[in-house]
Structure formats: structure tokens, C-alpha cells
């Protein structure tokens, strides 16, 4: 067993390794090493805890918990497809939030039974417990909704696969069972019954078929206010200033239940293209929840690691909002498309020209510089390998240079497109940022857009009344020729037509993303 002093020093080393690890993420060359540093830091923190005098050396639960968690974690990490990475990150965020809630609950149970152990200030402990419970619960339930929307089994009208039905029904059952357990454990006290009611409402909402339903905003507001009120009550209760209940734990679970409803309503109405913002925000919450848990158990390594992650998530959230020219409030409280205008779609698309694989192959033969702009459609049709094959082919056969222009919000999470292209062995120095490609657009002979729409819509620059006005876009309309691969002329998430499709230098190739690339590859081979 180590002395507490030595344990604390190891915690400092762990914290340093986390910072060094994140610093390594500044470049793809150093990032693998950085991630390993972070993992070593985590291992040190765990070992130090297991050898610390605070640890009770009751190994049974520890062994069971670590084994189950590690097996599930490894299986998820190995088996997940790169296209499903947003779902996985969403669910991991949720688990982090849940862990914070349950640790806070454990500490509170211990406190009520055994009293303060002298090292923790009661005011600090009570406030931090409330915040860890609140933020952790919003994170867990919000992440479940984000996961369900990404995996397309929540807020949809169509028939679900069996596994989707199982997950959806299972989750709703777990929520209600949790409420029933709370009500039963605390002898059906007022607060415990309220917890059950809130969890039932939460479960029912997950079965809504539409992302926006009447009364949604009201529930959002009421649960936000109620969360704060119950939080204050719990702080007063724990500090012994005012007694609201005989069994203080029922008040904690009520806080968790109302936060659950808040987390669900905050994320439920958020649409696909706004997902990057939500995932980044939930990432931030999971860090802040961990930091709050650090205040609960008086542990600096939790506070440091948690606030690093909190800061990281906030930066990403902000970057995503800037890349859509929207405020966070606007994303969370949903006002997209409020400046609805009547545009005659037929008029906009009057001069649309469509093209074929052979014609595209001929254009690529003449091109010296080709730009590929991927969007979520590339992920949906799993076209990344075909895209890479075409790029390699025209580089070797025609001697052209191919680069990729990635919009910050392309895909369903920050950096989603980059991971998919890296998976297809596209070297990272070919993945260029929006500003870089825009500054070299004059020299681009052919720009190929696959599965992207709003992020290349010139209306953002030209029409100040458009819902996407001011959003930074990739200016493919300024390239010599633009080829847009798309199944139809249907609008993107913003719900507005895209005049790019009808411009003089634009050609539409109506096809599924992957099939289109396979067809172009065949045509290029025949040139």
C-alpha cells in the first residue's frame, strides 16, 4: 500500500500525461503516441487508486466491474464500422455521464449513512453532488437520444429493424424500471413517485414518431426550471439547512429523473446536420460531470481530466456553431428555417444539365487539378473506397493532382469525413481545410461534390435572407467545372434549393454515391 502523498504524486503524473497526450493530437504524426500517453496516465491513476489508503481492498466488485466493462469496451471498439463512429462516441459520452451520476449517488448514500469523513466540506460536497447528478444525467439521456437519432431508430416513421426495436424498447423499459425501483425503495414517498412519473414521461417521449411535437418547448422549459429548483432543495437538504424529506436519497433521484427529461427534450428535436454540435456539447458535459465528481470525492485528478475534456468539447461546439453561422441557443432551441421564403424550385432548377460517367471521365482527362468535396452522403453510400480508387487512377493515368476539401460540419460529427477518407488510405496531407481550398479554387479544373449540399450552396454568400446566410461554404461554384453527384434535386437539411446545380459550369450526375464512382472509374479505364 502506498501513502496518500505518493498516490497524490502519481495522480499529478497522470494529469500531466493527459495534457501531454492531448497535446500530441496537434499532428497526425504525434497523435498515436499522444493517445498512448493518455492511456498510460489512466492506467497509473487506476493503479494508484487501487494501492491508496482510501481504497477498501474489497476486490470482488472491482474485479467484476473491470472485467465486464473492459470486455464490452473492447468489443465495441474493435467491431464498430468507421461510418458509425458518431454513434459510438455518443454512447461513450453517455456512459461517462452515467458513471458520474452513479458515483455521486454512491457518495451521497455513504454520507447519509456514515456522515462526513472529515476531509470533505459539506457545502462543497452537496453542491458538487447536485451538479454531477444533474449534468451527468442530462449527458446520459441526451446521449441516448443522439445515439438513437444517429442510428435512425428514434423520431422516425418507418419500420424498424429487430435490433432497433430491441434497443428502443429495452431502453424505455430500463428507464421505467429505474423509476419503479426508486419508488419502491423509498416506500412510495412523494418525491420517489414523482421520479417514477418523470421517467415514464421520458420513456414515452422516446417513442414519439416526430422530432417536434406540440408541448415540446413547454416541457423543455418546465423541466429546466424544475431541475434547478430540485437541485437547490437537495443542496439545502444535504447541508441540513432545510429538511424536505425523511429519506434524502429520493430527492437526489428526483433530480436525476427531471434531468433525464431535460436531456431528452433538449436533444430530441435536433436534426441530422446539427448533430456535430450536439455530440461536441455532450462530450463537453461528460467532462464537466467528471470534474464535478472530482469535487464530490475531493480528488484533483478527476477535476483536471474532467475540465480538460470540458474545455475540449466547448471549443469543438463553438467551432461547429461558427461553421454553420448559428448560435448555440439557436441550435438547442431550434429555429432553423424560420426565415421561410417562397422560392420557385422549378425556376431555380430550369437550367440543370445532367451528365454521364463517360463525359466526366473525359473532363477528368483534361484536368490538372481535381477537388473532391465529400459530405454525409459519402458515408451513407460507403463510397470512400471508391472515391480513393478514382483519385489514385486519375493521378496515375492522367497525372492530375487530387485534393479533398472538407467542410467543418460535413458528416455527423466533427472530423467525420477525415476519418472515413483516412480509413480508405487517403493520405492526411491531401485532406484540406475549407479556407485552404477556397483560396486555391481558381486553379481547380474539376470539383466533384459527393453527398454534400448546404455546405456548397452559394446562396449562403449571395442571399442575406436565406436561412443559411453567412454560413461559410466551400466555393466550388468558382471552380472551372463542378460535378455534383446526387440521387435527385432534393434539398439538404436547410430545406432550400441550391442554385449551384443549375449554374453554367455545373453538371449533375444523378446516381448513388458509390455506384457513381464505380461508373466513373470504369469510364476512366476506357479512356
Amino acid at each position: 500500500m502506498l501513502s496518500q502523498g505518493i498516490v497524490n504524486i502519481i495522480y499529478v503524473i497522470a494529469a500531466v500525461l493527459f495534457i501531454v497526450g492531448l497535446k500530441g493530437m496537434a499532428h497526425p504524426r504525434t497523435a498515436v503516441r499522444g493517445n498512448i500517453n493518455g492511456a498510460i496516465g489512466m492506467l497509473l491513476a487506476v493503479l494508484a487508486t487501487l494501492l491508496s489508503p482510501q481504497f477498501g481492498f474489497d476486490w470482488k466488485f472491482v474485479a467484476i466491474g473491470i472485467t465486464i466493462g473492459a470486455v464490452i469496451g473492447i468489443i465495441l471498439a474493435i467491431r464498430i464500422a468507421m461510418t458509425s463512429m458518431p454513434e459510438l462516441v455518443a454512447i461513450f459520452n453517455g456512459f461517462g455521464g452515467a458513471a458520474s451520476v452513479v458515483v455521486a449517488a454512491a457518495e451521497l448514500v455513504r454520507y447519509f449513512k456514515m456522515g462526513a469523513d472529515g476531509s470533505v466540506d459539506v457545502a462543497q460536497m452537496s453542491i458538487a453532488t447536485v451538479l454531477a447528478g444533474l449534468i451527468g444525467s442530462v449527458t446520459f439521456f441526451g446521449s441516448y437520444i443522439a445515439f438513437g437519432k444517429l442510428a435512425e431508430f428514434l423520431a422516425v416513421k418507418w419500420k424498424l429493424h429487430t435490433w432497433q426495436k430491441l434497443v428502443k424498447g429495452g431502453a424505455a423499459l430500463v428507464f421505467i424500471a429505474l423509476g419503479a425501483y426508486i419508488a419502491y425503495s423509498y416506500d412510495f414517498s412523494v418525491y420517489s413517485i414523482l421520479s417514477l412519473v418523470f421517467l415514464i414521461i421520458t420513456a414515452v417521449i422516446t417513442y414519439a414518431k416526430k422530432a417536434v411535437f406540440p408541448g415540446m418547448q413547454a416541457i423543455k422549459m418546465i423541466s429546466a426550471v424544475a431541475t434547478v429548483a430540485v437541485g437547490v432543495m437537495l443542496v439545502l437538504q444535504v447541508m441540513g439547512i432545510q429538511s424536505f424529506t425523511e429519506q434524502p436519497m429520493d430527492l437526489f433521484w428526483l433530480l436525476v429523473a427531471i434531468s433525464a427529461l431535460l436531456g431528452v427534450t433538449l436533444t430530441f428535436s435536433i436534426g441530422g446536420a446539427d448533430m456535430p454540435v450536439v455530440i461536441a456539447l455532450l462530450n463537453s458535459y461528460s467532462g464537466i460531470a467528471a470534474a464535478m465528481t472530482g469535487f464530490v470525492i475531493n480528488n484533483t485528478v478527476l477535476i483536471i481530466a474532467g475540465s480538460l475534456v470540458g474545455a475540449s468539447g466547448i471549443i469543438l461546439t463553438n467551432l461547429m456553431c461558427v461553421a454553420m453561422n448559428r448560435s448555440l441557443t439557436n441550435v438547442l432551441f431550434g429555429a432553423m428555417g424560420s426565415t421561410q421564403q417562397d422560392v420557385d424550385v422549378d425556376e431555380v432548377y430550369k437550367k440543370v444539365k445532367s451528365t454521364s460517367g463517360d463525359e466526366i471521365a473525359m473532363m477528368l482527362e483534361m484536368a490538372q487539378k481535381v477537388l473532391i468535396v465529400p459530405g454525409y452522403g459519402m458515408a451513407v453510400s460507403q463510397a470512400q473506397h471508391a472515391v480513393r480508387d478514382l483519385a489514385n487512377l486519375i493521378e496515375s493515368k492522367f497525372g492530375a493532382e487530387v485534393v479533398y476539401g472538407v467542410h467543418p460540419v460535413a458528416g455527423r460529427m466533427p472530423g467525420h469525413m477525415n476519418v472515413l477518407l483516412a480509413e480508405a488510405n487517403v493520405p492526411y496531407d491531401k485532406l484540406l481545410e475549407m479556407d485552404t481550398v477556397n483560396s486555391m479554387m481558381d486553379s481547380i479544373d474539376v470539383a466533384v461534390v459527393i453527398g454534400a449540399n448546404d455546405v456548397v450552396n452559394p446562396v449562403a454568400r449571395t442571399d442575406p435572407d436565406s436561412p443559411i446566410a453567412g454560413m461559410p461554404i466551400i466555393d466550388v461554384d468558382k471552380a472551372r467545372t463542378v460535378i455534383v453527384i446526387k440521387r435527385s434535386l432534393s434539398p439538404g437539411f436547410a430545406g432550400i434549393p441550391n442554385p449551384l446545380f443549375a449554374m453554367d459550369n455545373a453538371l449533375m450526375f444523378f446516381n448513388d454515391g458509390k455506384k457513381a464512382f464505380v461508373e466513373i472509374i470504369e469510364a476512366v479505364k476506357d479512356v
Binding site: 495534457i19 496537434a26 493517445n35 466488485f61 469496451g73 462516441v89 454512491a106 467532462g287
Partner: protein, 94 residues
């Protein structure tokens, strides 16, 4: 440690976080998220203490909560670092 010290650590760590993370290029934003998510699994420390407490020091219910938290946190930590490693290995120079 007293509250003021902990708050100091909290605020300074947020600033360090801002400094370090702003240097991460957009290319690596997905691995950044999954990697930082694994780091937020540091709650595992709290979970270990709760799950491993002896019954003289802690009621059984607190230990059960500790076990549940430990499972969640371990999934987060192990899965998070592993999937980040898998992703980062794919990023290669030409």
C-alpha cells in the same frame, strides 16, 4: 484540499485545455473527441473507491452503485482509448 485550491485547479485546467485543444487540426477532431472522452472516464477512480470500500466504511447499496459506475467508466476508458488508437493508426502520410 480546501475548496479554493480545488477551484484554482479547476480553472487553471480549463485554460490549459483551451490552449492545448485549439492547436488540434480539424482532420483529427473525431479522434480528439473519442480520446478526450476516454479521458473523461477518469470517474473510474471514484467508481473504484466506491466499489472497493469495506462494509465497515460503506453501506452495501453504495458498493452496488460503485459496481455499476465502474462498469460504465471502464467501458468508457477501455473502449475510448482502443477505438481512438484504431482510428489514429489509419492516418498516414502519402
Amino acid at each position: 484540499m480546501d475548496l479554493v485550491m480545488l477551484l484554482t485547479v479547476f480553472v487553471l485546467a480549463i485554460f490549459v485545455g483551451f490552449e492545448v485543444i485549439t492547436k488540434v487540426p480539424p482532420t483529427l477532431h473525431t479522434p480528439l473527441m473519442s480520446g478526450s472522452n476516454a479521458i473523461s472516464g477518469i470517474t473510474i477512480v471514484g467508481a473504484l473507491l466506491a466499489a472497493g470500500a469495506t462494509s465497515q466504511h460503506s453501506p452495501h447499496l453504495a458498493k452496488v452503485f460503485g459496481l455499476i459506475a465502474l462498469i460504465f467508466a471502464t467501458i468508457n476508458v477501455v473502449g475510448g482509448f482502443a477505438v481512438t488508437h484504431r482510428m489514429l493508426k489509419m492516418f498516414k502520410k502519402r
